[in-house]
Subunit: 201 residues, 2 copies
């Protein structure tokens, strides 16, 4: 069986960087854009459209509330795309040892016993991280960045929680949870990869 590491993360916590660097340290395949590419190929839909659609996820409305036809259609389309993405993730994970960031991989691959990481940080630190990597022409206030973080994490949570018995970010669902507040991600990669190696021994 392949060795799989999944990285779930709060937006702005450095989860993607952690995943990339871990893949390098472990000599595992870093899986990212090839997932969207495969979904695009199978559905004949545009990659950018898919990226947006999959990022929005499925809002967690109460099931009983009345919905318009277009809402129902949108939800069923999203659900179909997420299911397709799950299948593609399973195909890709069967091929080589790999690290997958986000994309509900922890849920899609649960029965393959991945090593599951959750990366998080406090709000101040996430705002600073997002600001440091923003384009120079993109000027957002702290309040706007915070709203964006809450919006993106809200979508991640509601989508995750539809497919998993455990809540997104509930530590019980992960092997290790790492707080990157005031932490340079680079400094924890080597020891973290050793903990992962011990898990797969």
């Amino acid at each position: 069986m392949k060795k799989i590491v999944t990285v779930s993360r709060e937006f702005g916590s450095g989860g993607r960087e952690t995943g990339k660097r871990l893949a390098e340290a472990l000599g595992f395949n870093y899986v990212d854009s090839e997932i969207i590419q495969a979904v695009a190929e199978q559905t004949k839909l545009d990659e950018n459209y898919l990226r947006d659609k999959l990022e929005q996820g499925i809002a967690n409305y109460p099931v009983t509330i009345g919905r318009t036809f277009s809402q129902v259609k949108s939800i069923s389309n999203s659900a179909m795309l997420i299911a397709k993405q799950h299948n593609i993730i399973r195909d890709i994970a069967a091929k080589s040892d790999c690290v997958i960031v986000g994309r509900g991989a922890d849920v899609a691959l649960a029965d393959l016993k991945p090593f599951k990481i959750f990366v998080y940080a406090d709000m101040r630190s996430k705002i600073a991280r997002i600001r440091s990597r923003a384009q120079t022409d993109e000027i957002l206030t702290d309040k706007e960045i915070e709203r964006k973080i809450r919006h993106i994490d809200g979508a991640r949570k509601s989508t995750h929680d539809l497919y998993s018995p455990r809540a997104w970010g509930d530590k019980a669902g992960y092997n290790i949870c790492i707080n990157t507040t005031d932490t340079d991600v680079k400094s924890i990669i080597k020891p973290l990869s050793e903990i992962i190696a011990a898990y797969f021994k």
Copy 2:
């Protein structure tokens, strides 16, 4: 400023072992029974009584519910002992780099920026761990062990939550949370001590 590591843990998750081994790996002082000894000395109370009393903590009754005089007395005694314990922990932590398991040290020392670890595991694994270290004449059913775990962790949580703005076990309150389910604690000590060393650099 001294380097301080606090280990909070679910009962049966291997937190104490983690703390002891970490202290050894880091060359830090492992602080445990000397806390109770100091409280006993200052209060002229028996160590075993204190151990029990501090382990029970303070049950988290709603403040508005009517209480008998003996309940009020018991709560105020416990609160006094916990405050004394906090002060003693601060004195001890000022003396040398150290690892402290439990005893509300993460709360008592919050302003000294300790590296805070939370160790947890799933119920099945905690029951197995407790069973493996039990005395041979102590035969408990799984249900009884589970009840004991919930009781002890409940006391830890309610006491912690009286003194801290964050809930016991809420990952936001820790630098790292480690799930020891199906994990040999020994295998993670070296990398974990490297993560801690990086934090204090």
